[in-house]
């Protein structure tokens, strides 16, 4: 539990899909398809576009960071006071494509870019975990 403040916390999910990248890209970027597996949204594949994912538990505030059709898509993911970044990468394979999702939060070098909630959050989690580790 120590030194979390300087660590990157990330979640990576990766799967081989028997579909071409173009088809996966549609599922990742067309609002009606996105809604079918993720959440209701007003997504548009344009850098700096701000959008929301709405679930029954609340909304996620997002901003598009990168759009590289059929290859790479990244957006911020702001939920519950934490702003993190979700990046999708598509790599063609002989049988279709490998789809990789990386969701990264708490990266100290993002503090400049994502001030406010994120920076406070990173310091807070780091400080609390350090504290809890010390008194355990």
């Amino acid at each position: 539990m120590t030194n979390v403040a300087t660590e990157t916390r990330s979640v990576v999910v990766e799967r081989e899909m028997p579909y071409p990248p173009e088809k996966l890209w549609r599922a990742l970027t067309q609002p009606h398809l996105l809604e079918g597996w993720l959440m209701k949204n007003d997504f548009s594949p344009a850098v700096e576009h701000r959008f929301k994912f709405s679930g029954d538990w609340g909304a996620v505030d997002c901003r598009v960071l990168e759009v590289e059709p059929n290859r790479r898509l990244a957006y911020t993911w702001g939920a519950m006071g934490l702003e993190s970044v979700v990046t999708w990468t598509l790599t063609p394979t002989p049988g279709g494509a490998r789809l990789r999702m990386e969701h990264v939060g708490f990266r100290p070098d993002q503090e400049q870019a994502y001030r406010g909630a994120t920076a406070g959050w990173q310091r807070m989690v780091g400080a609390l975990e350090d504290l809890l580790a010390r008194i355990d």
Partner: protein
Amino acid sequence: MSNGLQDELFRSLGDPTRRAIFERLCREGEQTVGALTADAGVSQPAVSKHLGVLKRAGLVSERRQGRQTHYSAQRSALAPLLDWTRRMTEFWEGRFDDLEDLLKRMDQ
């Protein structure tokens, strides 16, 4: 992935004064409002209000003794917050399953 209490938890700790109060309770154990006010840099009513928010989030519990109320930190309430990686992994694994189902339907 989330619920009301968890939102409350994130919101409560988003405020630096509240965070400082909570950290102090973790570090030094049970305290009265008066003792907390002495170091908080804000008024006693403000400290009481912060304690109320922390209490609603389950981060702080209170114990009355005579005319004094003693506050202590409930560290176990932090568990969902420290468990971000596990929760998000579960969330995205589930979404990938739904995505695969959708892709199958797109074929038809």
